[in-house]
């Protein structure tokens, strides 16, 4: 093996440009795969962090009937705030949120919205709830930038908001947009109007009631309290995981194409090598190599492309990765309407396991692709090979 490595190295370095072309293509695959995977990890991480900071905290209690995707059951998914939660709410380690379906009439148009009540003094979530304390003769409300953009709302605008109270009676009031906050989390932004919790409880005739509670402290599991069931962070971010997984699958095609291009170059080189280097193969055998050892040598040569590629990739890839981890990648389009948390700048995260696993996969694939055509050598007649007669 030591000899094979030595010879393979000499052969590769001696082959000059042909080797370096393959190595550069392969190193590009290394860098792109690690970068793209790092971006997915970064996106996943960033989306979860944003979601945690803006919406879910470290976990939530949901009313037993609450289903964020069911507009019809929203108005029934509330219950009085349990006594057991009072101390956490007072300590500001729990934020109650009341949710109801409503309709907004911006500039004469009708838009279905979700009205969310939140205490103005909360500090757990990044939503600027304190703005709801703004003095106004209308009902102070805040909306996300995406909501403001789609509804053509500006700070200071006044619009009619309508809802049905607990008795089923329609009611409406004028709200004033006192703040527009930028966020990457569409579930607190798109078609959402935030108002003061107490005011909302009054208007909906739901005194001291809430739909869900966001928590400051992470716990794997907490028992249900009255009508509220606990959801941990993992459950609440499951959709992001599923989305990232879907995106990862799509991206896998990109890796496969990239790898296929690199492998095709290696495969071609090997096939061409075996054809062009018949005399050399015969010479190796004449000098004392078995045909299996020659197969081994060619396989090692192929695999060594991956090792050289890893070295070359490290030379230009590491500075690129470091730069990307700091500068991030700006998305070329508006991501606010994607339906999930995507920051306008995504920062890749690279783990040791990502780098090692990618290196091993590329090395293993390259070795297999090198071995495949090399098997032909085992069937060669050394005398024909010496004369370069094999077609």
């Amino acid at each position: 093996m030591r000899i094979a490595l030595k010879l393979a190295y000499r052969n590769l370095i001696g082959a000059g440009l042909r080797t370096w072309l393959n190595v550069i293509v392969l190193s590009f695959s290394f860098v792109m795969i690690i970068w793209a995977k790092g971006l997915m990890v970064g996106w996943d991480n960033q989306a979860k962090t944003d979601m945690e900071q803006w919406e879910i905290g470290k976990g939530q209690f949901w009313h037993e009937q609450y289903d964020p995707y069911d507009a019809f059951s929203i108005n029934n998914s509330h219950a009085p705030i349990p006594e057991a939660f009072q101390s956490e709410i007072e300590n500001k380690t729990m934020v109650p949120v009341l949710i109801a379906q409503g309709t907004l009439y911006p500039q004469g148009r009708m838009q279905s919205v979700r009205i969310k009540g939140i205490p103005p003094d909360q500090t757990l979530l990044k939503i600027p709830a304190h703005k709801l304390d703004t003095l106004s003769d209308a009902l102070p409300a805040i909306v996300g930038a995406s909501m403001a953009h789609s509804s053509h709302l500006n700070k200071g605008d006044r619009v009619i908001l309508r809802w049905r109270d607990n008795k089923g009676t329609f009611d409406a009031t004028e709200i004033e947009i006192v703040d527009i906050f930028p966020t990457n989390v569409p579930t607190v932004d798109v078609a959402q109007v935030w108002i003061n919790l107490e005011t909302m409880q009054e208007k909906l005739l739901l005194p001291n009631e809430a739909t869900l509670f966001s928590l400051a402290n992470a716990e794997e599991n907490r028992s249900s309290v009255e009508a509220f069931h606990y959801k941990n962070r993992k459950e609440l971010t499951a959709e992001i995981d599923a989305m990232v997984k879907t995106k990862s699958k799509g991206q896998s095609m990109f890796y496969v194409i990239l790898m296929a291009l690199a492998m095709l170059a290696i495969f071609d080189t090997q096939v061409l090598s075996i054809f062009r280097r018949q005399k050399e193969i015969g010479t190796y055998v004449a000098l004392g190599y078995t045909r299996q050892q020659v197969v081994g040598l060619f396989t090692v040569e192929g695999a060594m492309h991956a090792i050289l590629a890893a070295v070359v990739a490290a030379v230009y890839g590491v500075p690129f990765f470091i730069w990307q981890a700091h500068a991030g990648m700006k998305l070329p389009m508006d991501t606010s309407e994607f339906g999930m948390a995507i920051a306008p700048v995504m920062y890749p995260i690279y783990s040791i396991s990502l780098i090692i696993s990618t290196t091993l996969i590329v090395l293993l694939t390259t070795t297999l692709v090198s071995y495949w055509p090399s098997r032909k050598i085992a069937r060669m007649s050394p005398t024909d090979a010496l004369r370069g007669k094999i077609q």
Binding site: R10, N11, G14, K279, E280, G288, T290, Q292, T383, L386
Partner: protein
């Protein structure tokens, strides 16, 4: 001097498939070679000299009959044993040199020693000695494409001789060389035969080579036609 027998062939036959039938390249060769011989298999193309050389070099196997090289029956050797025989005891010189093009002269000559697991310092000394024998020590760092045909063949001889094999098989070693280079090469080989007692077996139809041979075996249509010995 030439006493111990190192090669015996008995009714050696080699057939090759050809279309639906087969072609018999060797039709029953009975020969014996002793240590230190400087012998040539002489004959026109198709007479079977290269086929015989390949079998004696364990690169090919007989279809029938027996070929015993250094006490080993070529027919009975498995691939590993035949590679061991080539690695330890045989040296090859080819018509077109068969040097490793991307390796330097030093690395080409070093190759057989790598397979024999000599240490780096031993390899260096042996390679430089071999290059001195053939007079191209100054080209150690050159690569084959930078050398003339004569120099390439000298490298091939150094590669064949570096491990001091018992037997060197040379297939048309001067076919690609001009007269002056051919004589130089042959004088070098004759000197190595004389000084190192290495047995040389040539396959040739080159008159220049024939002039140097001590023993000439003339082949015709796969059979030994006649033999001649050089009178000293």
């Amino acid at each position: 001097m030439e006493t111990a027998s190192i090669i015996q062939t008995e009714h050696l036959i080699k057939r090759f498939p050809m279309g639906k039938g087969e072609f018999t390249a060797l039709k029953g060769i009975d020969l014996q070679f002793c240590t230190g011989e400087f012998t040539g298999l002489i004959g026109p193309s198709g007479s079977g000299k290269t086929t015989l050389l390949n079998i004696l070099g364990s690169l090919d196997t007989p279809s029938d009959g027996e070929a015993v090289v250094l006490g080993k029956s070529i027919k009975k050797l498995n691939p590993r044993e035949s590679s061991q025989l080539r690695k330890k005891s045989l040296g090859f010189i080819f018509q077109s040199y068969n040097l490793l093009q991307v390796h330097t002269v030093f690395e080409n000559v070093e190759f057989p020693l790598l397979l024999l697991n000599f240490s780096a310092s031993e390899r260096k000394k042996m390679v430089m000695d071999a290059l001195e024998w053939v007079g191209i020590a100054d080209k150690a760092k050159s690569k084959p494409p930078q050398l003339s045909g004569g120099e390439c063949q000298r490298v091939a001889i150094a590669r064949a001789m570096v491990k001091k094999p018992t037997l060197v098989l040379a297939d048309e070693p001067t076919a690609n060389l001009d007269a002056a280079n051919s004589h130089n090469i042959l004088q070098t080989m004759e000197k190595l035969n004389r000084e190192l007692k290495t047995t040389f077996l040539f396959a040739t139809h080159d008159e220049k080579v024939i002039g140097y041979l001590h023993r000439k075996i003339f082949l015709k249509d796969g059979l030994v036609d006649h033999e001649e010995w050089k009178n000293n």
